[in-house]
Subunit: 131 residues, 2 copies
């Protein structure tokens, strides 16, 4: 059974739909809201719910499969894999990567040194720990 996921896409956000899906599902898996053995919603189901083309869903799924987060079971769908010890941490970092790349690009654009960026980021990271 495919659980109901909190998935939402903004076609006008500039971020490709398949990538939004990829990142969100990655998050859901990393956060444990999608347990190993569970199946992702079927391509057509999700396509209808989000009003996007099935092939776009399929593309997101295929990328998740390529990354080993999910496995194709013929005739059934995409099953969430048990995380490898290292894959768990790796998967979580993958989620953050796009954001960090954007940070790096922006910092560079502004000629901000790595130290300045760290100094700015550190309090934010530690601040949000106790709530």
């Amino acid at each position: 059974m495919a659980p109901v996921l909190f998935l939402q896409v903004s076609p006008a956000s500039g971020v490709p739909i398949y990538r939004q899906l990829q990142d969100q599902i990655r998050s859901q898996i990393a956060g444990g809201r999608l347990a190993p053995g569970e199946f992702l919603p079927s391509v057509r189901q999700l396509a209808q719910r989000l009003a996007v083309n099935p092939m776009t869903i399929s593309k997101a799924y295929s990328l998740l499969e390529r990354d080993g987060l999910v496995e194709l079971i013929r005739g059934q769908g995409m099953r969430v894999n048990a995380p490898t010890p290292s894959a768990n941490g790796k998967a979580r970092r993958q989620v953050l990567l796009p954001l960090l790349q954007q940070v790096a690009a922006t910092a560079r654009q502004l000629s901000l040194s790595p130290e300045e960026v760290f100094a700015l980021l550190e309090p934010l990271l530690k601040e949000s720990k106790h709530d």
Copy 2:
């Protein structure tokens, strides 16, 4: 007078030419190799030297002008500006802040330690410093 700059573009690098130029010139200014009051090479001059279209040079120049690093003097060319207070101060960091907050929020959601985030971000920040 336009000093001779060390500018080099690789059309096949995947990075747009205008952006290569923008970044390199930005570097030259930040590094002091291009002092305030000096002029950039003329669009046509540089276009011929690098074997690219003048409009591509112009695009890079215009972006630098938009960012306030350079000023258009009619009939003469692009003159390097004196660095403005905002170019060095808090203003630049304010731009980065929303992004960093998002990073912090995501990292927290994924239970990533600050150290892990730094380890991930550092190579990205330093990677783009090649000049």
